[in-house]
Symmetry: C2
Subunit: 202 residues, 2 copies
Protein backbone atom coordinates (compact mmCIF):
# COMPACT_ATOMS: atom_id res chain seq x y z
CA UNK A 1 0.00 0.00 0.00
CA UNK A 2 1.72 3.16 -1.17
CA UNK A 3 -1.13 5.59 -0.62
CA UNK A 4 -2.81 7.10 2.41
CA UNK A 5 -6.33 5.83 3.11
CA UNK A 6 -8.87 8.28 4.54
CA UNK A 7 -12.13 7.29 6.22
CA UNK A 8 -15.13 9.61 6.48
CA UNK A 9 -17.97 8.31 8.60
CA UNK A 10 -21.45 8.83 9.96
CA UNK A 11 -21.35 8.83 13.75
CA UNK A 12 -21.97 5.35 15.14
CA UNK A 13 -21.42 3.52 11.84
CA UNK A 14 -18.09 2.01 12.88
CA UNK A 15 -15.64 4.26 11.03
CA UNK A 16 -13.05 4.28 13.79
CA UNK A 17 -13.28 0.49 14.24
CA UNK A 18 -12.92 -0.01 10.48
CA UNK A 19 -9.90 2.33 10.46
CA UNK A 20 -8.13 0.51 13.29
CA UNK A 21 -8.76 -2.92 11.76
CA UNK A 22 -7.79 -1.81 8.26
CA UNK A 23 -4.53 -0.23 9.47
CA UNK A 24 -3.82 -3.46 11.32
CA UNK A 25 -4.60 -5.61 8.27
CA UNK A 26 -2.32 -3.48 6.08
CA UNK A 27 0.39 -3.09 8.73
CA UNK A 28 0.34 0.72 8.57
CA UNK A 29 -0.28 3.40 11.26
CA UNK A 30 -3.74 4.65 12.24
CA UNK A 31 -4.51 8.27 13.15
CA UNK A 32 -7.67 9.73 14.64
CA UNK A 33 -7.75 11.82 17.84
CA UNK A 34 -3.96 11.58 17.94
CA UNK A 35 -4.02 14.16 15.18
CA UNK A 36 -5.42 16.63 17.64
CA UNK A 37 -2.55 16.50 20.07
CA UNK A 38 0.04 16.41 17.29
CA UNK A 39 -1.50 19.55 15.82
CA UNK A 40 -1.72 21.10 19.29
CA UNK A 41 1.99 20.54 19.80
CA UNK A 42 2.53 22.07 16.41
CA UNK A 43 1.14 25.50 17.15
CA UNK A 44 1.07 25.40 20.91
CA UNK A 45 -2.71 25.75 21.29
CA UNK A 46 -4.30 24.69 24.57
CA UNK A 47 -5.47 21.10 24.17
CA UNK A 48 -8.85 21.96 25.72
CA UNK A 49 -9.55 24.40 22.89
CA UNK A 50 -8.40 21.81 20.39
CA UNK A 51 -10.80 19.20 21.70
CA UNK A 52 -13.62 21.71 21.63
CA UNK A 53 -13.05 22.76 18.03
CA UNK A 54 -12.17 19.34 16.60
CA UNK A 55 -14.47 18.74 13.58
CA UNK A 56 -16.59 21.67 14.69
CA UNK A 57 -16.79 25.00 12.91
CA UNK A 58 -17.13 28.24 14.85
CA UNK A 59 -20.61 28.56 16.32
CA UNK A 60 -22.69 31.65 16.81
CA UNK A 61 -24.48 31.37 20.11
CA UNK A 62 -23.33 33.66 22.95
CA UNK A 63 -22.07 31.00 25.33
CA UNK A 64 -19.98 29.36 22.64
CA UNK A 65 -18.60 32.72 21.57
CA UNK A 66 -17.56 33.43 25.16
CA UNK A 67 -15.57 30.21 25.19
CA UNK A 68 -14.18 30.99 21.79
CA UNK A 69 -12.97 34.44 22.86
CA UNK A 70 -11.21 33.03 25.91
CA UNK A 71 -8.92 31.17 23.54
CA UNK A 72 -8.91 33.31 20.45
CA UNK A 73 -8.07 36.77 21.71
CA UNK A 74 -4.41 36.27 20.98
CA UNK A 75 -5.10 35.13 17.40
CA UNK A 76 -5.96 37.04 14.23
CA UNK A 77 -8.22 34.37 12.65
CA UNK A 78 -11.04 32.27 14.14
CA UNK A 79 -9.84 29.43 16.33
CA UNK A 80 -11.72 26.81 14.28
CA UNK A 81 -9.92 27.95 11.12
CA UNK A 82 -6.53 27.87 12.83
CA UNK A 83 -7.17 24.37 14.08
CA UNK A 84 -8.26 23.25 10.62
CA UNK A 85 -5.05 24.65 9.13
CA UNK A 86 -2.91 23.07 11.86
CA UNK A 87 -4.61 19.66 11.41
CA UNK A 88 -4.26 19.90 7.63
CA UNK A 89 -0.53 20.51 8.03
CA UNK A 90 -0.24 17.50 10.32
CA UNK A 91 -2.18 15.37 7.82
CA UNK A 92 0.14 16.40 4.98
CA UNK A 93 3.21 15.72 7.14
CA UNK A 94 1.94 12.24 8.10
CA UNK A 95 1.13 11.45 4.46
CA UNK A 96 4.62 12.48 3.39
CA UNK A 97 6.09 9.93 5.84
CA UNK A 98 4.30 7.01 4.19
CA UNK A 99 1.01 5.11 3.99
CA UNK A 100 -1.40 5.29 6.94
CA UNK A 101 -5.12 5.35 7.73
CA UNK A 102 -6.61 8.70 8.79
CA UNK A 103 -10.16 9.03 10.13
CA UNK A 104 -12.13 12.26 9.69
CA UNK A 105 -10.80 15.84 9.66
CA UNK A 106 -11.51 16.23 5.91
CA UNK A 107 -8.29 14.32 5.20
CA UNK A 108 -9.81 13.17 1.90
CA UNK A 109 -9.88 16.76 0.66
CA UNK A 110 -6.64 17.87 2.30
CA UNK A 111 -4.64 15.19 0.47
CA UNK A 112 -4.54 15.04 -3.30
CA UNK A 113 -3.73 11.40 -3.87
CA UNK A 114 -5.43 9.51 -1.03
CA UNK A 115 -7.82 6.58 -1.39
CA UNK A 116 -11.06 7.74 0.20
CA UNK A 117 -13.63 5.62 2.01
CA UNK A 118 -17.03 6.61 3.42
CA UNK A 119 -18.92 4.44 5.93
CA UNK A 120 -22.51 4.90 7.08
CA UNK A 121 -25.53 2.99 8.29
CA UNK A 122 -29.20 3.35 9.12
CA UNK A 123 -30.09 5.39 12.21
CA UNK A 124 -31.64 2.37 14.00
CA UNK A 125 -28.42 0.35 13.55
CA UNK A 126 -26.25 3.22 14.73
CA UNK A 127 -28.37 3.76 17.84
CA UNK A 128 -28.15 0.04 18.66
CA UNK A 129 -24.37 -0.02 18.10
CA UNK A 130 -23.66 3.06 20.21
CA UNK A 131 -25.94 1.94 23.09
CA UNK A 132 -24.10 -1.39 23.14
CA UNK A 133 -20.65 0.22 22.99
CA UNK A 134 -21.41 2.73 25.73
CA UNK A 135 -23.58 0.50 27.92
CA UNK A 136 -26.44 3.02 27.69
CA UNK A 137 -30.17 2.39 27.27
CA UNK A 138 -31.77 5.74 26.33
CA UNK A 139 -32.54 5.41 22.60
CA UNK A 140 -34.06 8.87 22.21
CA UNK A 141 -31.06 10.60 23.77
CA UNK A 142 -28.64 8.54 21.67
CA UNK A 143 -30.53 9.44 18.49
CA UNK A 144 -30.37 13.13 19.45
CA UNK A 145 -26.61 12.86 20.02
CA UNK A 146 -26.00 11.01 16.75
CA UNK A 147 -27.94 13.64 14.79
CA UNK A 148 -26.00 16.43 16.51
CA UNK A 149 -22.56 14.94 15.82
CA UNK A 150 -23.52 14.17 12.19
CA UNK A 151 -24.75 17.72 11.69
CA UNK A 152 -21.46 19.13 13.04
CA UNK A 153 -19.36 16.83 10.87
CA UNK A 154 -21.43 17.64 7.81
CA UNK A 155 -21.22 21.42 8.42
CA UNK A 156 -17.50 21.14 9.10
CA UNK A 157 -16.88 19.13 5.91
CA UNK A 158 -18.98 21.39 3.74
CA UNK A 159 -17.52 24.56 5.26
CA UNK A 160 -13.90 23.55 4.72
CA UNK A 161 -14.17 21.62 1.45
CA UNK A 162 -17.16 23.12 -0.37
CA UNK A 163 -18.18 19.54 -1.21
CA UNK A 164 -21.31 17.60 -0.32
CA UNK A 165 -20.78 15.18 2.55
CA UNK A 166 -21.91 11.67 1.58
CA UNK A 167 -21.92 12.26 -2.20
CA UNK A 168 -20.66 8.89 -3.46
CA UNK A 169 -18.49 10.37 -6.19
CA UNK A 170 -16.30 12.15 -3.59
CA UNK A 171 -15.02 8.76 -2.43
CA UNK A 172 -13.53 5.62 -3.98
CA UNK A 173 -15.60 3.26 -1.87
CA UNK A 174 -18.74 3.84 0.23
CA UNK A 175 -20.04 1.09 2.52
CA UNK A 176 -23.21 0.57 4.52
CA UNK A 177 -22.12 -1.23 7.69
CA UNK A 178 -25.54 -2.34 8.98
CA UNK A 179 -25.97 -5.16 6.47
CA UNK A 180 -22.62 -6.93 6.87
CA UNK A 181 -21.05 -5.35 9.98
CA UNK A 182 -17.67 -3.62 10.23
CA UNK A 183 -15.89 -6.92 9.50
CA UNK A 184 -17.86 -7.32 6.26
CA UNK A 185 -16.86 -3.78 5.30
CA UNK A 186 -13.23 -4.56 6.14
CA UNK A 187 -13.29 -7.60 3.83
CA UNK A 188 -14.72 -5.44 1.03
CA UNK A 189 -12.11 -2.69 1.48
CA UNK A 190 -9.22 -5.17 1.49
CA UNK A 191 -10.65 -6.89 -1.63
CA UNK A 192 -11.15 -3.53 -3.35
CA UNK A 193 -7.57 -2.46 -2.63
CA UNK A 194 -6.48 -5.90 -3.89
CA UNK A 195 -3.34 -5.53 -5.95
CA UNK A 196 -2.68 -2.07 -4.53
CA UNK A 197 -2.18 -3.82 -1.16
CA UNK A 198 -0.19 -6.62 -2.73
CA UNK A 199 2.36 -4.10 -4.01
CA UNK A 200 3.42 -3.23 -0.45
CA UNK A 201 3.31 -6.73 0.90
CA UNK A 202 5.57 -8.16 -1.77
CA UNK B 1 -27.72 -15.31 -2.13
CA UNK B 2 -31.39 -14.93 -1.24
CA UNK B 3 -31.83 -11.30 -2.19
CA UNK B 4 -31.99 -9.40 -5.47
CA UNK B 5 -28.98 -7.20 -6.23
CA UNK B 6 -29.57 -3.94 -8.07
CA UNK B 7 -26.87 -1.92 -9.83
CA UNK B 8 -27.17 1.81 -10.52
CA UNK B 9 -24.41 3.27 -12.64
CA UNK B 10 -22.90 6.31 -14.24
CA UNK B 11 -22.72 5.83 -18.01
CA UNK B 12 -19.37 4.34 -19.03
CA UNK B 13 -18.34 3.26 -15.53
CA UNK B 14 -18.82 -0.46 -16.20
CA UNK B 15 -22.15 -1.12 -14.46
CA UNK B 16 -23.39 -3.58 -17.06
CA UNK B 17 -20.06 -5.46 -17.10
CA UNK B 18 -20.08 -5.62 -13.29
CA UNK B 19 -23.67 -6.90 -13.35
CA UNK B 20 -22.95 -9.66 -15.86
CA UNK B 21 -19.81 -10.80 -14.00
CA UNK B 22 -21.49 -10.63 -10.59
CA UNK B 23 -24.50 -12.65 -11.77
CA UNK B 24 -22.07 -15.18 -13.21
CA UNK B 25 -20.02 -15.34 -9.98
CA UNK B 26 -23.17 -15.88 -7.90
CA UNK B 27 -24.82 -18.22 -10.42
CA UNK B 28 -27.98 -16.13 -10.70
CA UNK B 29 -29.74 -14.47 -13.69
CA UNK B 30 -28.84 -11.02 -15.00
CA UNK B 31 -31.42 -8.51 -16.35
CA UNK B 32 -30.84 -5.25 -18.18
CA UNK B 33 -32.37 -4.40 -21.56
CA UNK B 34 -34.24 -7.71 -21.42
CA UNK B 35 -36.53 -5.97 -18.93
CA UNK B 36 -37.71 -3.73 -21.71
CA UNK B 37 -39.03 -6.44 -23.97
CA UNK B 38 -40.51 -8.36 -21.03
CA UNK B 39 -42.38 -5.24 -20.01
CA UNK B 40 -43.38 -4.57 -23.60
CA UNK B 41 -44.91 -8.04 -23.85
CA UNK B 42 -46.68 -7.31 -20.61
CA UNK B 43 -48.73 -4.38 -21.79
CA UNK B 44 -48.41 -4.76 -25.53
CA UNK B 45 -46.62 -1.44 -26.15
CA UNK B 46 -44.68 -0.98 -29.39
CA UNK B 47 -41.06 -1.89 -28.71
CA UNK B 48 -39.87 1.25 -30.52
CA UNK B 49 -41.68 3.41 -27.98
CA UNK B 50 -40.27 1.29 -25.19
CA UNK B 51 -36.69 1.77 -26.33
CA UNK B 52 -37.27 5.49 -26.67
CA UNK B 53 -38.66 5.92 -23.17
CA UNK B 54 -36.36 3.49 -21.37
CA UNK B 55 -34.79 5.40 -18.45
CA UNK B 56 -36.03 8.61 -19.98
CA UNK B 57 -38.80 10.77 -18.57
CA UNK B 58 -41.22 12.64 -20.79
CA UNK B 59 -39.45 15.60 -22.38
CA UNK B 60 -40.77 19.03 -23.16
CA UNK B 61 -39.43 20.07 -26.53
CA UNK B 62 -41.85 20.10 -29.47
CA UNK B 63 -40.18 17.41 -31.56
CA UNK B 64 -40.07 14.98 -28.67
CA UNK B 65 -43.69 15.74 -27.84
CA UNK B 66 -44.66 14.92 -31.41
CA UNK B 67 -43.07 11.49 -31.06
CA UNK B 68 -44.69 11.06 -27.69
CA UNK B 69 -48.16 11.85 -29.02
CA UNK B 70 -47.75 9.37 -31.84
CA UNK B 71 -47.59 6.62 -29.24
CA UNK B 72 -49.59 8.02 -26.38
CA UNK B 73 -52.82 9.09 -27.97
CA UNK B 74 -54.38 5.74 -27.19
CA UNK B 75 -53.34 5.94 -23.50
CA UNK B 76 -54.71 7.92 -20.59
CA UNK B 77 -51.36 8.59 -18.83
CA UNK B 78 -47.96 9.68 -20.22
CA UNK B 79 -46.11 6.93 -22.04
CA UNK B 80 -43.02 7.32 -19.82
CA UNK B 81 -45.12 6.76 -16.70
CA UNK B 82 -46.79 3.70 -18.21
CA UNK B 83 -43.43 2.24 -19.12
CA UNK B 84 -42.11 2.90 -15.64
CA UNK B 85 -45.09 1.12 -14.12
CA UNK B 86 -44.77 -1.80 -16.54
CA UNK B 87 -41.03 -2.16 -15.84
CA UNK B 88 -41.63 -1.93 -12.09
CA UNK B 89 -44.14 -4.76 -12.33
CA UNK B 90 -41.65 -6.86 -14.28
CA UNK B 91 -38.95 -6.11 -11.68
CA UNK B 92 -41.24 -7.20 -8.83
CA UNK B 93 -42.21 -10.35 -10.71
CA UNK B 94 -38.55 -11.26 -11.38
CA UNK B 95 -37.66 -10.62 -7.72
CA UNK B 96 -40.48 -12.88 -6.56
CA UNK B 97 -39.00 -15.73 -8.62
CA UNK B 98 -35.67 -15.61 -6.79
CA UNK B 99 -32.31 -13.85 -6.60
CA UNK B 100 -30.98 -12.05 -9.68
CA UNK B 101 -28.96 -8.99 -10.69
CA UNK B 102 -30.90 -6.07 -12.19
CA UNK B 103 -29.16 -3.06 -13.76
CA UNK B 104 -30.85 0.36 -13.78
CA UNK B 105 -34.56 1.17 -14.09
CA UNK B 106 -34.73 2.37 -10.43
CA UNK B 107 -34.91 -1.27 -9.33
CA UNK B 108 -33.31 -0.24 -6.02
CA UNK B 109 -36.35 1.87 -5.18
CA UNK B 110 -38.95 -0.43 -6.74
CA UNK B 111 -37.90 -3.36 -4.53
CA UNK B 112 -38.05 -3.10 -0.76
CA UNK B 113 -35.46 -5.65 0.25
CA UNK B 114 -32.79 -5.55 -2.46
CA UNK B 115 -29.06 -5.07 -1.94
CA UNK B 116 -28.19 -1.92 -3.83
CA UNK B 117 -24.90 -1.09 -5.56
CA UNK B 118 -23.80 2.14 -7.26
CA UNK B 119 -20.82 2.28 -9.63
CA UNK B 120 -19.20 5.42 -11.03
CA UNK B 121 -15.88 6.79 -12.19
CA UNK B 122 -14.15 9.98 -13.26
CA UNK B 123 -15.18 11.47 -16.61
CA UNK B 124 -11.71 10.98 -18.14
CA UNK B 125 -11.77 7.25 -17.29
CA UNK B 126 -15.30 6.84 -18.64
CA UNK B 127 -14.41 8.56 -21.91
CA UNK B 128 -11.37 6.29 -22.30
CA UNK B 129 -13.38 3.16 -21.50
CA UNK B 130 -16.23 3.99 -23.90
CA UNK B 131 -13.88 4.99 -26.76
CA UNK B 132 -12.08 1.67 -26.34
CA UNK B 133 -15.31 -0.36 -26.19
CA UNK B 134 -16.85 1.33 -29.22
CA UNK B 135 -13.67 1.74 -31.26
CA UNK B 136 -14.25 5.49 -31.47
CA UNK B 137 -11.73 8.33 -31.20
CA UNK B 138 -13.72 11.56 -30.74
CA UNK B 139 -13.25 12.44 -27.03
CA UNK B 140 -15.36 15.61 -27.09
CA UNK B 141 -18.33 13.85 -28.68
CA UNK B 142 -18.03 10.94 -26.23
CA UNK B 143 -17.98 13.33 -23.27
CA UNK B 144 -21.11 15.07 -24.61
CA UNK B 145 -22.87 11.72 -24.96
CA UNK B 146 -21.85 10.56 -21.47
CA UNK B 147 -23.12 13.79 -19.92
CA UNK B 148 -26.40 13.50 -21.80
CA UNK B 149 -27.06 9.88 -20.77
CA UNK B 150 -26.11 10.67 -17.15
CA UNK B 151 -28.45 13.64 -17.09
CA UNK B 152 -31.33 11.51 -18.40
CA UNK B 153 -30.67 8.74 -15.88
CA UNK B 154 -30.41 11.24 -13.05
CA UNK B 155 -33.64 13.02 -14.04
CA UNK B 156 -35.39 9.68 -14.46
CA UNK B 157 -34.24 8.42 -11.05
CA UNK B 158 -35.12 11.62 -9.25
CA UNK B 159 -38.49 11.94 -11.02
CA UNK B 160 -39.63 8.42 -10.17
CA UNK B 161 -38.07 7.94 -6.73
CA UNK B 162 -37.81 11.46 -5.26
CA UNK B 163 -34.30 10.50 -4.11
CA UNK B 164 -30.93 12.00 -4.98
CA UNK B 165 -29.02 9.95 -7.54
CA UNK B 166 -25.52 9.14 -6.27
CA UNK B 167 -26.23 9.86 -2.58
CA UNK B 168 -24.16 7.14 -0.89
CA UNK B 169 -26.74 6.42 1.78
CA UNK B 170 -29.26 5.25 -0.85
CA UNK B 171 -27.05 2.25 -1.57
CA UNK B 172 -25.33 -0.52 0.39
CA UNK B 173 -22.09 -0.28 -1.56
CA UNK B 174 -20.75 2.45 -3.90
CA UNK B 175 -17.62 1.82 -5.95
CA UNK B 176 -15.33 3.98 -8.07
CA UNK B 177 -14.23 1.75 -10.95
CA UNK B 178 -11.36 3.89 -12.30
CA UNK B 179 -8.91 3.01 -9.54
CA UNK B 180 -9.22 -0.78 -9.54
CA UNK B 181 -11.23 -1.59 -12.69
CA UNK B 182 -14.48 -3.53 -12.94
CA UNK B 183 -12.73 -6.70 -11.75
CA UNK B 184 -11.52 -4.92 -8.60
CA UNK B 185 -15.08 -3.75 -7.98
CA UNK B 186 -16.35 -7.30 -8.51
CA UNK B 187 -13.91 -8.63 -5.89
CA UNK B 188 -15.12 -5.97 -3.44
CA UNK B 189 -18.80 -6.74 -4.02
CA UNK B 190 -18.30 -10.49 -3.59
CA UNK B 191 -16.26 -9.87 -0.40
CA UNK B 192 -18.90 -7.45 0.91
CA UNK B 193 -21.70 -9.96 0.30
CA UNK B 194 -19.48 -12.58 2.00
CA UNK B 195 -21.61 -14.76 4.22
CA UNK B 196 -24.78 -13.63 2.45
CA UNK B 197 -23.40 -15.40 -0.65
CA UNK B 198 -22.22 -18.35 1.38
CA UNK B 199 -25.77 -18.98 2.59
CA UNK B 200 -26.95 -19.82 -0.94
CA UNK B 201 -23.91 -21.76 -1.99
CA UNK B 202 -24.01 -24.10 0.99
Amino acid sequence: MERVITISREFGSGGRELGVKLADALGIPFYDKELISMAADDINIAEEAFRYYDEHIEVRDPLDRQFYHAFSEIYQVPMSDQIFVAQSNVIRRLASHGPCVIVGRCADMVLEDSINIFIYSKMKDRIKRMLRLEGETDEKEMERRIREVDRKRKDYYQYYTGNTWGRAQNYHLCLESGLVGVDGCLRAVVAYLGELCGETRN
